[in-house]
Symmetry: C2
């Protein structure tokens, strides 16, 4: 049995996260089982900035290296767990809160979670960070000016907004606050998808790689 | 690469469950990764019937055999994901709905989920079964007469109810409908915990054991 040296302060600084386990299997033992550090890689950015594309590309690489991952897909969660929520600010906050709580459960099982959600405000991202535990939260800013997002317009949402068919659209009549100090930042307007993925992979692998300490 | 032979009807009978995956990794491939059949083992029974005790005992055995499990603990979920819910019938239903949705996400990752919740009505259990997919849901009835549950009264809830301190208590002023055809039934009033666990282990292992078909 391996014993980890961590101070009491470290151990108890996020008591809710620790209490999740039934007594005989702890988060740390789970880590040895799966041989990876559980982290939630949280992609934030405007609609059309390339979050889902990068999540999928990153997942493909990380999975192929033998890591056990879980992807949270916004559309699936919106039709399943959160089908009762809309796009007002309160509903968006509740959406993020539930996702973070579920993410915490996956982290406690030892998985690496990848998810891409707009998460428009700093407050929401802080809430998510606190729910999953600050040391397990990796914030990725998918940075792209809104003009370029509108040019791409993969889902046709910008067109719909311009035609007045949808409201509360992030970047126009709903706020988006850019992260000030993201853990990782990718520029999808300047770099192509291969470069973004290579850069992300390098940075993320360093964070999820198993180590004895 | 292993190719599974399953009919189209089988494949698409529960399309929501199937759609969860991003295109390149499927539920079945995940099964080969973890080498177990993902199932949710859903314990239902009165307060004090021994659900949590049996979940923990079963988890201990199943984990020791190398299966990758996740336990949902009612108290943790009630303070985390579902902290906004009370004990009215609607809130209980919403509680079960969210748990089933989260359970589905864990199953899609290939884990075996164990959870013990009162789940008082047949309707709620049917809902949960349909959300996770009928073939992946294993209903365990923890059967114990309410008089014996009250004698045990581990959490002191029956005493509180008798003193009028809590309301909506299952078995008295809130309904409990026994399952008619549970997949597994254990009699915690007649058998001791070792016998219940042995019986459960035998029945559950048969369901989660990996096979090529």
């Amino acid at each position: 049995m391996i014993k980890l040296h961590r101070t009491k302060a470290e151990k108890y600084k996020n008591p809710r996260v620790w209490s999740d386990f039934n007594s005989f299997i702890r988060r740390n033992r789970r880590r040895f089982l799966v041989r990876q550090k559980p982290r939630i890689i949280w992609f934030t950015g405007l609609s059309g900035s390339g979050k889902t594309t990068l999540v999928d590309a990153l997942n493909k690489v990380v999975l192929s290296k033998g890591y056990f991952t879980k992807v949270f897909d916004g559309d699936v969660i919106r039709t399943g767990l959160n089908h009762d929520l809309g796009f007002s600010m309160e509903d968006r906050t509740e959406n993020i809160r539930r996702i973070a709580e579920v993410g915490r459960m996956f982290l406690d099982s030892g998985l690496v979670v990848l998810c891409g959600f707009i998460t428009p405000t700093i407050e929401m991202r802080e809430m998510a960070r606190n729910i999953v535990g600050p040391d397990r939260f990796v914030e990725v800013h998918v940075n792209c000016p809104i003009e370029i997002c509108e040019l791409r317009d993969v889902k046709g949402l910008y067109k719909k907004y311009r035609e007045g068919k949808i409201k509360n659209f992030t970047g126009f009549d709903s706020v988006y606050e850019s992260p000030e100090n993201p853990d990782i930042e990718v520029r999808t307007d300047l770099w192509d998808i291969e470069k973004c993925t290579r850069y992300l992979t390098r940075r993320v692998l360093r964070k999820i790689k198993f180590s004895w300490t």
